[in-house]
């Protein structure tokens, strides 16, 4: 059993809280079913299904904390996990930054569960692979991709009477299509809560078109270019920047949002005035569970409004110390935009570079959030509103804090995910001037 009903979850969690002899007890029960299919060289390589369930119990004696988890849920196991957590708590040194368990909350449910997504089976997954492989085979192309779907349940409770329960579903799809001579490569990705909106047969066309269109790439000189970043291309940079939005790091003087002389940049205009970022657990297209890992309720939270920073993440300890209110850590990140598609942005561009996606992004200097990484799987030169020819991939060295000051135009946000990001994101295509490409890559 891994997808617990609300009653089942509550019964388990109530027992745990009751069993604890510590000063306080918090528990989290999670369950998931994740199915996947992986294919490469136009053939399925691996596929599997993983059932998982875990109960994590955290107790405190004074300021001493102990945590234990278990994946069995009979009464003996529940007793065992509680005693183990208590034993660890007694051995642990006092944590001077200890914060008591949260009070009873009223969580407003968000719409994160779609029956049809939960019902996906191995046949559906095999069909996704087939829908990508078949057209590629016909076109002398080679498909390599991964499709995964999940159904999850999260339930939390504590000795102060708090309780929360919610189910969620999701699908994630990526496919790389290469020409059989290895000279062209294209890519497509989709991240959704509702599988009804997913159509592999249609999406694969994007990757096919980019693969065929990217062969015989020309080399442009590295330098500063006007770029059109597809949503997947800028998502990685923007998400990386969010590591600098920690209030404590900023207050301690080690973030790009630290203020010279002390303090942080809340209230300062840091980005172009068209930049608006916010979190909203109830957003129709990117909904997330309405509480964070501490059980704090998530709220609709403006993060950047008209270029001004209006939110940094305060942990409960740091909030208490600084006299601020701690709110739930965002689970999604939404950047507002207009109505234009990537195609519309291309149409309005005299000279520029279209970037399909970015790859291997790493921090070079946290002082300025300077990031490096590369373009991949479809980089094109734009002239007079049209894609003229494919170009070789570039390495960039650019800061999102600079990039979001060099905005020419913002398109319509779409839902994207990134392997290295904790957020579900709604990111628009962006037209940016003076984006810094520092060298060429021969990689296709």
């Amino acid at each position: 059993m891994s997808i617990f009903t609300e009653t089942e979850a509550k019964t388990i969690l109530d027992k745990v809280v009751k069993l604890s002899k510590a000063d306080e007890c918090s528990a989290q029960l999670t369950g998931s079913i994740e199915g996947n299919v992986r294919y490469a060289l136009n053939s399925v390589s691996t596929s599997g299904i993983v059932n998982n369930a875990d109960l994590a119990v955290q107790v405190a004696f004074g300021k001493r904390i102990g945590t234990a988890t278990i994946n069995e849920f009979d009464d003996t196991s529940l007793e065992k996990v509680v005693r183990r957590a208590e034993e660890l708590a007694r051995l642990a040194p006092e944590n001077p930054e200890f914060v008591p368990a949260i009070e009873k909350q009223n969580y407003k449910a968000s719409d994160t569960y779609v029956e049809k997504t939960a019902a996906i089976g191995p046949d559906y997954r095999a069909q996704v692979a087939a829908d990508c492989i078949e057209p590629c085979k016909k076109d002398k192309l080679v498909a390599a991709g991964f499709f995964t779907n999940n159904e999850r349940v999260t339930a939390i409770a504590n000795s102060k009477g708090n309780f929360g329960y919610q189910k969620s579903t999701g699908v994630d799809f990526t496919c790389t299509v290469r020409t059989d001579d290895g000279r062209g490569s294209g890519w497509v990705a989709r991240n959704l809560g509702d599988v009804a909106k997913f159509d592999a047969k249609s999406d694969i066309k994007t990757a096919i078109q980019k693969a065929k269109g990217s062969a015989d790439a020309k080399a442009l000189e590295p330098g500063k270019y006007t770029v059109i970043m597809e949503p997947a291309a800028s998502a990685g940079l923007i998400s990386f920047m969010m590591f600098g939005f920690d209030a404590r790091q900023a207050d301690e003087g080690r973030s790009f949002l630290s203020k010279k002389g002390g303090g942080n940049k809340i209230g300062d205009k840091v980005f172009d005035e068209r930049v608006n970022l916010y979190a909203d657990p109830w957003d129709a297209q990117s909904s997330v569970v309405p509480w964070d890992e501490d059980g704090l309720p998530r709220e609709k939270t403006p993060i950047v409004t008209k270029g001004v920073v209006d939110y940094l993440q305060y942990s409960r300890y740091w909030a208490q110390k600084q006299g601020k209110k701690a709110i739930g850590q965002p689970g999604n990140l939404i950047m507002t935009g207009g109505d234009k598609s990537t195609q519309d942005l291309i149409k309005g561009t005299k000279k520029g570079v279209l970037v399909t996606r970015t790859w291997y992004i790493r921090m070079v200097d946290p002082q300025t959030v300077l990031l490096t990484g590369l373009t991949r799987d479809g980089t094109f030169y734009i002239e007079n509103g049209e894609i003229k020819y494919p170009i070789k991939n570039f390495r960039f060295n650019e800061s999102p804090a600079i990039m979001l000051n060099n905005i020419e135009e913002i398109g319509k946000p779409v839902r994207v995910a990134d392997d290295e990001s904790p957020f579900v994101m709604m990111i628009p295509p962006l037209k940016i001037r003076d984006f810094t490409f520092s060298s060429l890559s021969d990689a296709v």
Binding site: L41, N71, E87, T148, S258, Q329, I402
Partner: protein, 544 residues
């Protein structure tokens, strides 16, 4: 656990997390116990028999117990102590010429037999989409054998209090030396792995690893500038003796920086880190251009990892990783030509899963193949790749090189990087002598920022410490340095490698690959090496 999960557990990401997210959290003493080999053999035989009875032509079973301990501190506080345990059984079969895999944490006979059957049904279902049947390189069963990391002190047996005292002592020393902040962590791993196959192998292995990373920050509030210096330790396949700080393992480098070989003085390095982080705040910014680079092994390991380790993985070369990590420029035609100059004559790079104290050292890989050493690049020429049993025939080999690994019982094993290392130079040469001949160069110590493209051509690397070399002398610390390479040009610009006295290891706990993602731990050895005419960029920017 992937890198993102590690960032969550250690709280260096966006927020902090008190709940362990890998495996079950257990009491410290549970980490010192072991499962009985006879009990594991019994479980393995249930799976092997069930697989054979249901039509598998091959089956292997991995019974894994993965134990981890984290001790996480900052300044004068212990932020968290987490003990986790994850155990279960992974069963892999060949049926209808196709792989199938299933895993279960339930070690009852019924659950194991059921998982074996499930693996067979997955294999049969997928066989419809299989172009060619799996070809396994032949291997002889080794019977009942065992192997263990040759540790001196089992780190799991060291009391938590001693670990906490060590880290808080390290932190206090750094703060006293002028650090604004320090975070220090102990991360211990014990993989108790039992492998059995229908070839007649029953292999019991006990693998230990240790890592003691730290990050020291200096902040100048007046100017709003901050700089960090990470510890110069390396994760190792060792016990707690790695932290013994033996004087013979300490090396003072030209210019004054101190590095460590087979044991680590964490406190001394923390003090140096505090001073150097402060020095970085006012060090002059590099002038971009062409420089000769002198790369210390504490830095060079990562360049080897990215630009040689990954491109010589055969599954990448063939296209199996095309959708995620990418493919490789080191294509089969280059290998077949027998004259592709990957590097200069000075460059011999080998794969080795037997080198003691390394992260990749095991007796047998995760498909029961005895580990070994072989050349990948010989005197500059690409001569081989890294393969597992179902790939050996592609290179005309009649046996696997033993590179198969899974990061947990619940994940299927696949080709992972061996320790890949640069052979020391044959002629006597120390870093001091190497530097004497450099007119305009940069000496780089420690690993920093890293990024490489999906075919492993274009890479960019930073570091921890950068020193200017002028007319044969280390002159001053400089900052804002990163160098960009095109892999074959870079290795062909290698003009000298120091001798074996300078040979040291670096490595990573988190080499990511595959979908769903898996991590593996890998070491890379080298002596200091010189590369001429590298492109160095200046990474300083202004946010206005």
């Amino acid at each position: 656990m992937d890198r993102r999960d590690f960032l969550k557990v250690t709280g260096v990401g966006l927020g902090t997390l008190m709940i362990p997210i890998y495996g079950r959290s257990v009491a410290a003493e549970v980490l010192t116990t072991k499962m009985d080999a006879a009990a594991k053999k019994k479980i393995a035989d249930i799976a092997l028999n069930a697989a054979k009875a249901n039509g598998a032509t091959y089956c292997d079973v991995r019974i894994g117990r993965y134990l981890r301990q984290f001790v996480i501190t900052r300044e004068d506080k212990v932020q968290n102590v987490v003990n986790t345990e994850s155990s279960g059984v992974g069963i892999r079969v060949v049926a209808n010429g196709t792989w199938g895999f299933a895993a279960t944490s339930d070690m009852s006979a019924d659950a194991i037999a059921k998982a074996a059957k499930q693996a067979i049904s997955i294999a049969k279902a997928n066989s419809r989409l299989q172009a060619e049947p799996v070809q396994l390189a032949p291997t002889k069963g080794v019977g009942e054998v065992s192997w263990a990391t040759p540790i001196v002190k089992n780190a799991m047996e060291v009391p938590i209090k001693d670990k906490v005292d060590l880290l808080l002592g390290v932190n206090a020393a750094a703060m006293q030396a002028g650090a604004s902040f320090i975070r220090s962590i102990l991360f211990l791993v014990n993989e108790q792995k039992y492998f059995a196959s229908t070839d007649g192998s029953y292999i019991d292995q006990d693998v230990h690893r240790i890592w003691a990373p730290m990050e020291v920050t200096a902040v100048d509030q007046k100017s709003g500038k901050f700089r960090t210096r990470d510890g110069l330790s390396s994760p190792r396949g060792m016990g707690f003796e790695y932290l013994d700080a033996k004087p013979q393992h300490k090396l003072a480098l030209p210019g004054g920086a101190v590095v460590y070989s087979d044991s680590y003085d964490m406190k001394e390095d923390a003090i140096a880190a505090a001073k150097q982080a402060k020095e970085k705040l006012s060090a002059p910014s590099v002038k971009p251009g062409k420089y000769d680079l002198v790369l210390d092994p504490s830095h060079l390991w990562l360049t080897i990892h990215e630009s040689v380790g990954h491109p010589t993985e055969l599954d990448r070369v063939l296209g199996y990783e095309a959708n995620y990590a990418g493919t490789s420029f080191a294509t089969l035609d280059k290998w077949k030509s027998k004259n592709f100059k990957y590097g200069s004559d000075k460059v011999t790079i080998f794969a080795d899963k037997t080198q003691p104290t390394t992260l990749g050292a095991v007796g047998y890989d995760d498909e029961g193949i005895k580990t070994q050493r072989w050349d990948l690049i010989k005197d500059g020429v690409l001569v081989n790749y890294q393969v597992i049993r179902d790939q050996a025939h592609i290179l005309g080999l009649n046996s696997s090189q033993g590179c198969c690994y899974a990061d947990s019982w619940s994940n299927v094993q696949f080709q992972r990087m061996a320790n890949v290392s640069l052979s020391p130079g044959k002629d006597k040469l120390a870093p001091e002598e190497m530097i004497k001949n450099v007119e305009n160069g940069i000496y780089i110590i420690g690993d920093g920022s890293f990024s490489i493209d999906q075919q492993r051509y274009n890479a960019q690397f930073g570091g921890q410490l950068f020193y200017e070399i002028k007319n044969g002398k280390v002159t001053q610390m400089i900052e804002d340095v990163a160098y960009q390479i095109r892999t074959p040009e870079f290795w062909n610009s290698c003009v000298a490698v120091c001798d074996d006295k300078d040979y040291r290891f670096g490595g990573s706990f988190f080499d990511g690959k595959g979908q769903p993602g898996q991590v593996s731990a890998v070491s890379h050895g080298s002596s200091t090496a010189r590369f001429n005419g590298a492109n160095v960029i200046n990474t300083a920017r202004s946010l206005g």
